[in-house]
Symmetry: C2
Subunit: 191 residues, 2 copies
């Protein structure tokens, strides 16, 4: 922040490193610092010049992923019928989750307990608000804690990502399957 200001080539290096980290960690959560440096087309020493430790690098990577995710999700129109809004939100969310599932695992491993959750705060809040609005509309159930519902949605999204990774679910089908599953999990009882 109050730094003497970075040179342009340094900015470029950092950007390449962060991008490479996202990419590499999304394929293998145990990717080595060396792997990442190589993928970024940069010497390991250069990398260490910008990120002192591996955790620091991992955090930068996931923070960047979440930031760009926010960009996508923040632009969505979530007004109107809550069920429809949920479908729209899931449709966009699930791709992001799927792409960065392994990166998330990497972060869980090296960042202190709760840190990842904090970084997810915006996304969680968005989902929570939508659910609460749906509850007021009578569309969503009210018999379970909202916090649990929000997290249950997360678990199913990650589950779907895992199914795809393992080849048990086709990417093309996933969106519909996930949406249908979550909608009925959240819907108010009708009987």
């Amino acid at each position: 922040m109050t730094r003497p200001r970075r040179r342009a080539d340094a900015e470029r290096s950092i950007a390449r490193i962060v991008a490479a980290a996202r990419e590499a960690l999304s394929r293998d959560p145990d990717a080595t610092v060396d792997d990442i440096a190589r993928a970024a087309g940069v010497g390991r020493m250069t990398l260490y010049g910008h990120f002192r430790t591996r955790p620091e690098l991992v955090e930068a990577a996931i923070a960047d992923a979440l930031r760009s995710g926010e960009q996508t999700l923040g632009g969505l129109d979530l007004t109107g019928d809550a069920r429809d809004a949920l479908t729209r939100l899931l449709e966009s969310s699930w791709t992001l989750v799927s792409e960065s599932a392994a990166l998330l695992v990497a972060a869980q491993k090296v960042l202190p307990e709760g840190r990842v959750r904090d970084l997810h705060a915006d996304a969680a809040e968005r989902m929570e608000e939508l659910i609460e609005r749906g509850q007021r509309q009578g569309a969503f159930r009210t018999d379970l804690p909202t916090a649990w519902l929000v997290n249950a949605v997360q678990y199913l999204l990650h589950g779907a990502a895992e199914e795809i990774r393992a080849g048990r679910l086709k990417t093309a089908d996933a969106g519909g399957v996930v949406t249908a599953t979550i909608q009925s999990m959240l819907s108010a009882a009708k009987g």
Copy 2:
């Protein structure tokens, strides 16, 4: 199998080691061979006398956990109304899952891809049969692949275990919450 037969003290050691492994790995999936030996009250060398590598030990631990789980679940009466049967099955399953969640993570890490899934085959099949019976009864939805539903149940069970571990869900509440969530996820549409 065709071994010259083991001595009684060896049997005892093995039993203690496996028990300690289950216990230690259920607390920390990265538990060291040394940790486990110590917890078993046995020298590290003794452990290596029975399990050549760490993965071999982890596999023994999870196999044992699943075997004892089978004992519990195999004794359940799952006849009658599928919804009620599902509740009974979940009530028993979720505790088991919760207890061995970390052990499962350990196994995922070191065993070859798919191995864990194979070991789970019995449990998965039991759930699958129940779901299919419920579908024939008209109680459960038929618009999604059965395999996905089975796995989705798993993901939610593991999610609930994680919520408890993190202190966001009280153990006493979990059974009811999980059951309610899964029931509505599986129920046939009524509208």
